[in-house]
């Protein structure tokens, strides 16, 4: 019981990995230091900024507020995984097109959070998009360009869906 380390096995971006981890290590430190997946960023490390957002078993979560050992057996997706699968390529294109980032620190968290909104597949007002992204801080853009990019992507997907 007093073991300070534990072996965990989980799926990260479709690949199964097994590692010995310290029980006090949170998921994003695990992803960054053990797996080299540095797309998930650590800003505040207490659940306020949203830069660490990752998808665990289909839900977007604060990666700094879940321990790596708690992800044992889980399916974890990071911005690298969403990029590789092409799930958010249209969203990423619209971020670039609209200039929805400057320093880029918040961008992975913004993309993963917006991806959850896009998956809902229902029309959203700008206020609803803003509210959905309200847990993610951006200190550069003033948010308008981010809302624009998400709105454009959502409208494009809705137009193209049967």
């Amino acid at each position: 019981m007093n073991e300070e380390t534990q072996i965990i096995t989980l799926t990260v971006n479709g690949e199964q990995v097994s590692r010995l981890v310290a029980v006090r290590q949170h998921l994003v430190d695990f992803l960054r230091t053990e797996l080299g997946l540095t797309g998930s960023h650590l800003g505040c490390e207490h659940g306020i900024c949203g830069a660490c957002s990752v998808r665990v078993d289909g839900d977007v979560l604060r990666g700094c507020l879940i321990l790596a050992v708690q992800a044992d057996g889980a399916e974890v997706e990071t911005v690298e995984g969403l990029t590789e699968s092409g799930e958010i390529s249209d969203l990423q294109d619209n971020f670039v097109e609209r200039g929805a980032l400057q320093c880029g620190f918040c961008t992975p968290g913004m993309l993963i959070t917006a991806a959850e909104l896009l998956l809902q597949g229902t029309p959203k007002t700008r206020d609803e998009i803003r509210e959905f992204l309200s847990g993610n801080f951006c200190r550069c853009t003033g948010y308008h360009a981010i809302i624009d990019a998400v709105e454009t992507t959502l409208n494009q997907r809705l137009e193209n869906s049967p």
């Binding site: 029980v23 006090r24 050992v69 959070t113 309200s134 847990g135």
Partner: protein, 293 residues
């Protein structure tokens, strides 16, 4: 920052949790959603010897209706409460409060029971629990007991739950047809900590208000039932006069804590503004033809 060292147990049964709590008491912490515990660990505001992870205990999950009560398992995530048709139908006050509970990523992980057990003064759900007459079911190796919301919330982050007790579920009476509710909150940003807030439920009998529960949070050290303001509107039809009486009486019910967000006087003013809006909304709902909502 990073958490201090701790031992970690992923519990496989409630009995195992209760034994560990009995052995370690206050040196152990229950890890449910972790959306408040993990920040306090990362900031080293808390240094428990042992974390008992209850996330794999399916018996603490699920929302159901039994004998006129909605039973919410302690481990039900906020997102599930928000999506629940049972909550929408039987607990409209809680359904209205849910969008104010943090942000999507936090609601996907944070738990109903965690919010109740933590008793953060700025939290929405303890206030709703008190307004709706919720009962908390806790268990230790000594047995189970039920605690009414009025007895449960004792102070800032302080409840009647003993260190060896685990919160099992919350039972909340289903809405009666003559009951109407409204929830209002003021924060700097959607999902941020509340500065002022009110949860209210009103009973209507004929054209008079027969019952009223006005409960305040964020400005007080714990969810606070405003006995004087509530009494000011009971036993008569709704009118501008009884609204003013309730707003005036609020000064005797509340003792707002000054903070960088505002003085005690300012917070009392905010609570009065919210009260006026909440009562207007609840009476609009009471006067809507049945089924129109």
């Amino acid at each position: 920052m990073k958490t201090p060292k701790f031992a970690y147990v992923c519990a496989e049964s409630v009995a195992q949790v209760l034994n560990l709590l009995s052995e370690h008491g206050d040196n152990a912490r229950i890890l449910a959603g972790g959306q408040s515990l993990m920040p306090t660990l990362n900031m080293r505001l808390s240094q428990p010897d042992l974390l008992i992870d209850i996330n794999r205990l399916d018996v603490l999950k699920g929302i159901s209706v039994e004998d006129g009560m909605v039973r919410i398992g302690a481990l039900v995530r906020h997102a599930e409460v928000m999506r629940s048709p049972i909550v929408a139908e039987h607990l409209p006050l809680i359904a209205e409060a849910m969008p104010h509970v943090a942000h999507m990523a936090v609601r996907n992980r944070g738990t109903f029971g965690g919010s109740i057990a933590l008793a953060d003064p700025a939290a929405e759900l303890p206030a709703c629990g008190l307004a709706l007459g919720a009962t908390m079911v806790v268990e230790s190796t000594r047995g189970r007991r039920k605690i009414s919301a009025a007895e449960f919330f004792k102070g800032m982050f302080d409840t009647d739950r003993n260190p060896d007790e685990l919160l099992i579920e919350i039972r909340i009476p289903c809405r009666e047809p003559n009951n109407f509710s409204a929830f209002m909150e003021l924060s700097r940003r959607q999902g941020d900590f509340a500065i002022a807030g009110v949860a209210c439920q009103i009973g209507i009998d004929g054209d008079a208000i027969s019952a009223a529960k006005l409960v305040y949070f964020a400005s007080e050290s714990r969810p606070t039932f405003a006995a004087n303001a509530s009494a000011a509107i009971i036993g008569k039809p709704w009118s501008a006069k009884s609204k003013s009486a309730a707003l005036a009486a609020l000064a005797d019910d509340l003792d707002p804590i000054p903070s960088p967000q505002g003085s005690a006087k300012f917070k009392l003013h905010l609570q009065r503004v919210l009260t006026g809006r909440a009562l207007d909304r609840v009476m609009e709902r009471a006067m809507e033809p049945a089924g129109a909502a």
